[in-house]
């Protein structure tokens, strides 16, 4: 077990963390604006995997990738319009149940349409190519994932910080009611949040499944949980926080697997959640909020 092995594992961990980060951003942004754990997000990610299988078979891969991203965005926005928008003024428990209902529906729909058996994920040309970098040996996707993640997150941060619509999004997440009074079109902002979240989930799913090579209707469940923990760890509502959280969870998980504790790696993620909630419930980069009467 030399330093090469360690570096190799670290690389795998960073790559996994990149995929986690992309999904965690979706959770974090929706929670920041709607105060809702979007339980369906993990299943949107899973559906994106199936979209890829089918579109890859039907068209050349660059087109397929675009189709998958657009399809996932459409799914995410539709879910928001159908399941969350009518409940905007309802008690929070109803919205949460609606989100779970959506997750249940997507899982059952996927089982019905594609059967519960794992389906082979297509290999996008170039992404599975083995690359040698010094002593490190890995497929292209492992190197590419963290780079794509960083680029996308930087773009997103620029959108949030530099543009008018980004400012509106930050305003809504800061104070929903005041933002509404200032004339911000809340529904547009929420839709945009789902567009961004779903697009990132689609890209994350391409990177994640290329490495895993198969999709099942339940691929999203545990992964979604881990990504939500990543978002909480980084500070829910904060985009850079979600990315940092994603990388931390990805690296710890791979380290544990490398040490031979693969069955307990998810238990460890859960332990991280408990510890972070005890020590610093606002997460690494979160702001403290006090509930006013």
């Amino acid at each position: 077990m030399g330093s090469t092995y360690l570096l190799q594992q670290l690389l795998t961990g960073i790559s996994l963390g990149g995929a986690y980060a992309l999904i965690a951003v979706g959770y974090s942004m929706v929670y920041g604006i709607l105060m809702l754990i979007n339980f369906a997000h993990a299943d949107i990610f899973m559906m994106a995997g199936y979209f890829m299988i089918f579109s890859f078979a039907a068209m050349p891969w660059p087109v397929a990738i675009v189709v998958v991203i657009l399809g996932t965005i459409l799914l995410g926005v539709t879910i928001e319009k159908v399941a969350y928008k009518p409940l905007r003024s309802a008690p929070r428990m109803s919205i949460m149940i609606s989100a779970i209902g959506m997750s249940y529906l997507l899982q059952n729909l996927a089982t019905y349409l594609f059967s519960a058996l794992p389906q082979a994920y297509p290999a996008i040309p170039g992404l599975k190519k083995l690359i040698k970098l010094g002593d490190l040996n890995s497929s292209m996707v492992t190197f590419v994932t963290p780079i794509i993640t960083i680029i996308l997150v930087v773009l997103l941060m620029m959108l949030l910080k530099r543009t008018k619509i980004g400012m509106a999004m930050r305003a809504v997440s800061k104070d929903y009611d005041t933002a509404k009074l200032m004339g911000i079109k809340i529904n547009q902002i929420i839709s945009l949040t789902f567009v961004i979240g779903s697009a990132l989930a689609a890209i994350g799913s391409i990177l994640y499944f290329t490495d895993r090579m198969s999709v099942t209707p339940f691929s999203g469940t545990l992964l979604g949980l881990k990504c939500f923990v990543a978002a909480v760890l980084g500070g829910i509502g904060s985009v850079p926080g979600a990315v940092i959280g994603g990388f931390i969870i990805g690296i710890t998980e791979t380290t544990l697997i490398a040490m031979g504790y693969s069955t307990f790696s998810s238990a460890f993620t859960f332990l991280i959640l408990i510890i972070i909630l005890m020590v610093r419930p606002t997460g690494l980069l979160g702001e403290t909020l006090t509930e006013k009467v």
């Binding site: 105060m35 754990i37 159908v82 399941a83 009518p86 409940l87 309802a90 428990m93 109803s94 949460m96 149940i97 609606s98 779970i100 209902g101 959506m102 997750s103 249940y104 529906l105 899982q107 059952n108 729909l109 089982t111 019905y112 059967s115 339940f218 469940t221 545990l222 949980l225 939500f228 923990v229 909480v232 069955t263 307990f264 998810s266 238990a267 993620t269 859960f270 959640l273 408990i274 909630l277 005890m278 419930p281 509930e291 009467v293």
Partner: protein, 423 residues
């Protein structure tokens, strides 16, 4: 406060007797009504879990999604302690049994089987309660969203740990456990063989649900409701938030685990895959359809959903060909799609479910028929206010939610269905 009508008490007793008589009839003719017996057993078990979930979701306003995990704990505790000692080697044929478990089982084997089963279930319940307590310490201080995610994670982890190959000698990993004694197989000596298939689960469910009803009607229950309505106001009234939330969570997990033990006895063989998140969602479906905050609603929901899912709507999953033409959509898995759409429809359009947050009362029951008969005149006033088409006890549901808990004895409700049996 409504005065209890003595006639209605008699109706309740009558209903309990009818249920008891029907159960005994089915019990004696169980070979003829095999399907009904098994669906009723399952409904009774799910009714308990649904009521326990409702205690948290509907009455305390906390959201736990750990039902699958707590049920798994209860089921495995019951299974590991009740599989007959001489069958253990055969069940753990792959990697053998941990020695201390064997010696514990030998020590316990002096007990008669029914006692052993009860002890096993209680142990399962206590382990689940302990875990709930430990999770509750950090999580219940925060917003209830975190409880949902923490318990969901907990359930996945319980499943992961049970199926871990490192624990093969303890939980038999992914091979699952077999030869668990069923409800009929542990009769006491004075009963005919195989008797108790329905009566035992009916009795157990009645006790468990009755226990939760007692808690809800106590001062603790009123504190739970106050927390549900407004945490800050409840705290201002002097309710210790953390203590009461802990209590509700631990109690609910305890009962859920016992029901998990009953499920193990019902299924006779269990494996980790049976306790996936889907089972939690199934129970949530029951609670939502029955009505958040209604015990009788949950019991009713358990029967309606289980009967529909496991019996009446089976044909959704079977391809059907009429005159050479294949009916579209009917294929494995379609039933569950229908159920998930149903859940969404209930959540979006009939948020109150079957019963809303009111309980079954004879008064409301008769009103239902009275309103049906006089529909044309009443139409104008009923169509305006309510969302749900089925309202059992009108008048209570539209009342503003009380900030202050109800005065003692102020609940004008009679126990229906199952609860009536232990009056």
């Amino acid at each position: 406060m409504r005065v209890k009508n003595p006639k209605h008490t008699w109706y309740s007793i009558l209903l309990a007797l009818v249920i008891l008589a029907a159960t005994i009839y089915l019990e004696f003719n169980r070979s003829k009504y095999g399907m009904a017996v098994s669906v009723i057993q399952k409904s009774l078990i799910f009714a308990v879990v649904a009521v326990a979930m409702n205690l948290l979701n509907g009455f305390t306003g906390l959201f736990s999604l750990g039902q699958a995990g707590f049920m798994a704990i209860g089921a495995y505790a019951t299974a590991m302690l009740t599989i007959p000692v001489e069958r253990m080697e055969a069940v753990y044929y792959m990697s053998g049994v941990v020695p201390w478990l064997m010696s514990l089982k030998r020590a316990l084997s002096v007990l008669p089987e029914p006692v052993l089963i009860i002890i096993a279930m209680l142990i399962g319940g206590m382990i689940a309660g302990l875990f709930a307590f430990l999770i509750g310490i950090p999580v219940l201080r925060l917003k209830s969203d975190y409880l949902a995610i923490a318990t969901l994670g907990f359930a996945e982890i319980v499943r992961g740990i049970i199926s871990a190959p490192q624990l093969d000698q303890f939980t038999n990993g992914s091979y699952g456990l077999k030869n668990i004694p069923g409800f009929g197989s542990n009769s006491l000596s004075f009963m005919p063989d195989g008797f108790g298939v329905l009566l035992v689960p009916l009795f157990a469910s009645t006790i468990l649900i009755g226990f939760i009803v007692l808690v809800i009607n106590s001062s603790y229950g009123r504190a739970f409701k106050a927390i549900r309505e407004d945490e800050i106001a409840a705290e201002a009234m002097g309710i210790n938030l953390l203590k009461h939330k802990q209590m509700s969570f631990v109690l609910s997990s305890f009962v859920t685990a016992i029901a998990g033990g009953m499920l193990a006895m019902f299924m006779r063989s269990i494996e980790p895959r049976a306790f996936s998140t889907i089972i939690t969602y199934d129970i949530l479906l029951i609670v939502v359809i029955g009505g958040l905050g209604s015990i009788t609603g949950s019991v009713l929901g358990a029967f309606v959903v289980t009967f529909a899912k496991d019996w009446f709507l089976r044909f959704f999953d079977v391809p059907l060909i009429i005159g050479g033409f294949q009916v579209p959509f009917l294929r494995i898995g379609f039933r569950m799609v229908i159920f998930s759409i149903l859940l969404m429809v209930v959540v979006l359009f009939y948020r109150r479910g079957l019963m809303g947050n009111s309980e079954f009362t004879w008064h409301g029951f008769f009103n239902l028929f009275r309103r049906r008969l006089k529909r044309p005149e009443v139409m104008a006033e009923t169509s305006g206010g309510s969302m749900s088409p089925i309202i059992i006890a009108p008048g209570r549901d539209q009342a503003p939610a009380p900030l202050i808990p109800d005065p003692p004895g102020g609940e004008p409700e009679e126990e229906a269905d199952e609860e009536a049996a232990d009056e």
